[in-house]
């Protein structure tokens, strides 16, 4: 595993794999800014085995693995070799794509010592329907650094780090700065929040949370409704949901969201399984 120093390193590697001209399969989606941030924080590594480039994102408790390969057979050979070297690390892989195509990649990982952890599904909604919920609650958008730290702690306490790609404190502060973090505070404690991104016509719901102590007070629907209001200019709202979370899916269907044929099969080389928590 070698550290990646420049974004350009990655491009050169991908050029080489693609240049073999035998095809291209990957779960690596280039988001230049995010990757540059990871490189600067020394969290990004690479390893080339045969006709596959592996990239590693060090998340401290585990490592996210990305692959860029010229074919399924080549990925198989490379994974078998990677296995000997990465045995001591806890690897997590998001296999993203359409069903049933991603099944065969998931199968390959399972042949090479990985286990299915959980499956996420992307849901989206095209039109906006505003559903006014009367709110006596004080929704805030001006999270200070104490609030941000509280939210960071809640995310790490209640969300599954393997399934949900948790942000670091800086990212939370950035959302607060850009008014994309709404929260409810009661007696100095955060009782709920929603975090989102607006990019042109698309709005991404990132995290939506109500503290278990404050459930059934409509905080959740008020937060979501305010998120919808702030997404009014967009044509589409999307987010990822854990496929086995029937209750959440029912709620989203109720709000007019629909399941897309875009899935994320999460596999890890530890035989652990996603456990439904109370978030």
């Amino acid at each position: 595993m070698d550290k990646v120093f420049y974004f350009n390193d990655i491009q050169v590697i991908i050029k080489k794999i693609k240049g073999l001209n035998t095809g291209y399969i990957t779960n690596f989606y280039l988001e230049v800014d995010r990757i540059n941030a990871l490189i600067n924080k020394n969290q990004f590594y690479k390893k080339i085995i045969g006709n596959t480039a592996f990239f590693f994102k060090d998340d401290y408790e585990f490592i996210h693995l990305f692959y860029c390969s010229s074919s399924i057979d080549e990925l198989d050979k490379s994974l078998t070799r990677l296995r000997t070297e990465m045995d001591k690390y806890h690897l997590v892989v998001d296999i993203i794509g359409k069903q049933p195509n991603i099944q065969s990649i998931a199968y390959l990982f399972k042949m090479n010592g990985f286990f299915e952890y959980t499956v996420l599904n992307r849901m989206s909604r095209i039109s906006i329907q505003d559903m006014a919920v009367k709110s006596q609650l004080n929704l805030k958008i001006d999270a200070d650094s104490t609030n941000c730290k509280q939210i960071f702690d809640l995310l790490h306490q209640y969300f599954d780090p393997i399934a949900e790609q948790l942000p670091d404190l800086d990212e939370i502060k950035n959302w607060a700065k850009s008014n994309h973090l709404l929260f409810v505070e009661e007696n100095g404690e955060i009782s709920g929040f929603v975090i989102f991104d607006l990019i042109g016509v698309t709005s991404y719901l990132r995290y939506w949370f109500v503290h278990p102590k404050h459930r059934n007070k409509k905080i959740g629907s008020i937060l979501l409704n305010e998120y919808f209001k702030r997404s009014e200019e967009t044509k589409r709202q999307i987010f990822w949901v854990i496929q086995s979370n029937d209750n959440a899916i029912k709620r989203y269907l109720h709000y007019g969201f629909q399941s897309e044929n875009l899935y994320d099969i999460i596999v890890t080389n530890n035989n652990i399984k996603y456990e439904t928590t109370n978030n």
């Binding site: 057979d73 198989d76 050979k77 994974l79 078998t80 070799r81 296995r83 000997t84 045995d87 390959l108 042949m111 090479n112 010592g113």
Partner: protein
């Protein structure tokens, strides 16, 4: 063991394997290769090794040593 080595040569698609050949250096090595070697050991020597044990053996010679040690137990 002779018979086992013959089978290995078949699985690895080579005419002759040497004791210091590195398993992962065989061109055609993939997950099916390791699975079939594990199954062969299971069928011929009546014990199972894990994929990790197989891969950490490294060379053909070490794999054979591993089998010999295990079959004595």
């Amino acid at each position: 063991m002779e018979a086992f080595i013959k089978k290995l040569e078949g699985i690895l698609e080579v005419d002759k394997i040497e004791m210091d050949d590195v398993l992962l250096d065989f061109e055609e090595w993939d997950s099916l290769t390791s699975l079939s070697i594990i199954a062969t050991i299971d069928a011929d020597f009546h014990f199972s090794i894990t994929a990790e044990e197989l891969l950490s053996a490294g060379t053909v010679g070490n794999l054979i040593k591993l089998i010999q040690v295990k079959s004595k137990k």
